[in-house]
Amino acid sequence: MIELILRRLGGALMILFGVAAITFMLLYALPADPAVQLAGRSATAQTVANIRHELGLDQPLLLQFVHYLGNLVQGDLGRSYTQKTEVMTLILARLPATLILMVSGILVEVAIGLTLGTIAALNRGGFVDRLVMTVSFIGVSAPQFVVALLLLYVFAATLQWFPMSGFGTFSHVVLPALTLGVLGAGWYARMVRSAMIDVLNQDYVRTARAKGVAERAVILRHAVPNALLPIVAMIGIDIGQFMGGVVVVEAVYGWPGIGQLAWQAIQQVDIPIIMGVTLISSLAIVIGNLIADLVAPLIDPRIRPR
């Protein structure tokens, strides 16, 4: 167990190093010059050169990278070019919001996906199945922005059930989580459906029925936990999608998450922030997969190490 975790952490470090190296090289290959960007229109050439020098951008790329890594090891992600603030501070300020949104979004999408997928599997081939699959398809193909605004118009602006924007209370998280959940549930519904069809054909389901277990309990107690297994792995992958994909939802609901920070930084070529966010999301993905690997044995005792 310990060995497994250590091995995975070692792998994670390698991955993070790789991500850092690739991101760094790619960012510096970009044509945009952060110094020019920062100096603004009225700056003189001297000012631009000064800024470039102060940011260390006039040093050889490799040296910059080594320098960056050196700081990274000490937990220093550098300072934002535009905000002049520690990137770590900026990220830490926004991380909780993103984590809350991510967790609740995943909960909603798994809940919806599990329900719809199970219903579809139970009605396999029938009308309900087709309907559910079509609905899940709409979810997969719907533009985020429109769905987010639609929910906002209906539930916040018109019905006023939830606040339109902000962060802090439970009612704030409902709409953003719902938006993400509705959009992501399609994938889960499909996955759950095929997993459930698989599980429902298993012998132990028949055994449960032969014991006189009620159909609801057969599904909820016997089938669903087994169908959850492939879903857990999927959640691990999903975390990555979330870290990058929440920008729009965050923007619409004024949610102070990492996505907005990343989006602004990309537009302003604020390299320290981009690097920081990239590393954090990679870390989240790696940890997500690690957690998925560690959670899987909780659900499936067969892969529990002894």
Binding site: V213, A214, E215, D300
Partner: protein, 563 residues
């Protein structure tokens, strides 16, 4: 009707007819099946695969898959209640309490993510109510009854932590926990080792005595039938062709089908006093094969196979020694039977001698040492040695027609052109008793026996000298099994094939082999001529294996007696 309690049926099935709904219309699966089950009686349902045994039992439980199978007519009476008309709710009450069921696969019949305890408690809580504690006590008693050691610990364990035999005991405990009137056991021991099977059968007989449960036992193993049945019902093509007392069925079968079935059953000890398998072709009968060649087709010395060894951050992981220093040799035209309990390393040996998995030691096929041969250099050797796997379905590519599958070895080895190959495929199909026009069909469109013939045809297409047959008939019906075995013998006689014949079925090994090697824990514990091993076993282990085989003769029941 007489008032005799002994004969008043607990369960009576009358004119049960079941249709399967396919997109080509309804297909009759059960046709007017009628039988009854007296209190405390064991009725065995026998018959070939697909004859409707499982459908019958599932009908009684009303667990037929709703989408595809439907009871068309007939009644199933439990006491005076007709189960066919019962609502789902009422039926749930019946299931597990009045009628309980055990399935063939103990591996998959228990929910892998639930503890044994939870699963055992479930029917007790549902049907007897009461609190957790009393249910737990009941569960512990049941585990005790099925002779599971440390029952309290088992309750916390998960299915995968138990052996196959233990799992099946848990299934039995679960089925009997509410003291049902009727127990249906669908192939309860097929997936188990002979020795374990013997224990389970013994247990079932004991429990029957203790609980007085009426049992419907489904099996295609006539040995088991003879061992267990009070009465036997023989099914074929959805019909119940014959029903009668066990002794009657075995000694005085009236239907031809029943007679064939009984005749096809291999009996251990049947070949006592002979040196080799029976001759099946006319020529062989006329002139038994002499020792043709002294040159071994397969020579194995000190073979070792280790699984799961790998280098890791924390040093090398040792892995598990699955085969530990096995040596034997096999000459042309002869069969070496490799027998042993599950997990003893038989399959591993079979794969290793064909170079399919990494091994240590010396293996030579037709004088050529395999070690370190590249895929390319290996190819000529592959022509000489082929493998037939246990599960014919799994060993055929489900997305390839069987014609293509049989032609493929020739394609790989660049033999003949298109028409040559087509001719050879047709010839091979005929050779294994199929018609050439089936070449364009896919594996799933065949029965198990037919698939195994196809695998044999594929193995033969390169005219090999050696065939490794790993449990090649284990999945087949008795009657089909006999035919496939005969086919293999015939091929040996005409083509001079050598077989490494792997099986855990002592009777089959006895019938097929010239020599026998008994494996246990990765080693060969006994090795010698078949006659020596079977008639004069030196090892206790071998003796136990032989003793555990059920004898298809109701008059010779022995399992319940032995300790």
């Amino acid at each position: 009707m007489s008032g005799d309690i002994r004969t008043a049926p607990v369960l009576s099935v009358d004119g049960l007819t079941v249709d399967a709904l396919t997109d080509r219309g309804a297909k009759r699966v059960l046709d007017a099946v009628s039988f009854c089950l007296a209190a405390g009686e064991t009725l065995c349902l026998a018959g070939e695969s697909g004859s409707g045994k499982s459908v019958t039992s599932l009908s009684v439980m009303r667990l037929l898959p709703r989408a595809s199978l439907r009871i068309v007519s007939g009644s199933i009476k439990l006491g005076d209640r007709d189960l066919t008309g019962l609502g789902e709710r009422a039926m749930r009450e019946v299931r597990g309490r009045d009628v309980a069921m055990i399935f063939q696969e103990p591996m998959t019949s228990l929910n892998p993510v639930m503890t044994i305890g939870k699963q055992l408690l479930e029917p007790i809580l549902i049907h007897q109510g009461g609190n957790e504690a009393s249910a737990r006590a009941q569960a512990l008693r049941m585990l005790d009854a099925v002779q599971i050691t440390e029952p309290a610990r088992r309750l916390r364990q998960y299915p995968h932590e138990l052996s196959g035999g233990m799992r099946q005991r848990v299934m039995i405990a679960m089925a009997l926990s509410c003291r049902p009137k009727v127990l249906i056991a669908d192939e309860p021991t097929t997936a188990l080792d002979v020795t374990v099977q013997a224990q389970i059968l013994k247990l079932m007989r004991e429990l029957k005595g203790e609980f007085g449960t009426s049992t419907i036992l489904i099996t295609h193993d006539m040995g088991v039938v003879a061992e267990m049945a009070d009465r036997v019902a023989v099914m074929k093509d959805g019909r119940l062709v014959e029903i009668g007392s066990a002794v009657d069925i075995f000694e005085r079968p009236t239907e031809t089908y029943t007679r064939e079935l009984i005749a096809a059953v291999p009996r251990i000890g049947a070949r006592t006093g002979t040196d080799g398998p029976p001759a099946v072709t006319a020529e062989a009968k006329a002139a038994p094969l002499a020792e043709k060649s002294l040159e071994p087709v397969l020579a194995v010395q000190n073979l070792k196979v280790t699984y799961g060894a790998r280098a890791s951050l924390f040093g090398r992981k040792a892995g598990q020694l699955a085969v530990d220093g096995v040596s034997f040799e096999l000459r042309a035209g002869r069969t070496l039977g490799l027998v042993g309990e599950s997990g003893s390393g038989k399959s591993t040996t079979g794969k290793a001698v064909l170079g399919l998995i990494p091994y240590e030691g010396y293996v030579a096929i037709d004088g050529e040492e395999l070690m370190d041969l590249s895929v390319r250099a290996m190819r000529p050797v592959r022509r000489l040695a082929q493998m037939i796997f246990q599960d014919p379905y799994a060993s055929l590519d489900s997305r390839m027609t069987i014609g293509a599958a049989i032609a493929e070895p020739m394609l790989i080895h660049g033999i003949g052109d298109r028409t040559d190959r087509a001719d050879r495929v047709a010839e091979l199909l005929r050779r294994v008793g199929l018609t050439p026009d089936v070449a364009s069909r896919y594996p799933h469109e065949f029965s198990g026996g037919q698939r195994q013939r196809i695998c044999i045809a594929r193995a033969l297409s390169l005219k090999p000298k050696l065939i490794v047959a790993d449990e090649s008939v284990a999945a087949l019906d008795v009657s089909v099994r006999a035919k496939v075995l005969d086919l293999m013998l015939e091929l040996q006689e005409t083509e001079g094939l050598a077989y490494l014949f792997i099986s855990h079925d002592m009777a089959v090994i006895e019938r097929m082999s010239h020599d026998v090697a008994v494996m246990n824990g990765g080693r060969i514990v006994e090795y010698g001529s078949r006659r020596a091993v079977f008639e004069n076993p030196e090892e206790d282990y071998t003796r136990r294996l032989i003793a555990a085989v059920p004898i298809p003769d109701p008059s010779q029941r022995h399992l319940a007696m032995t300790g």
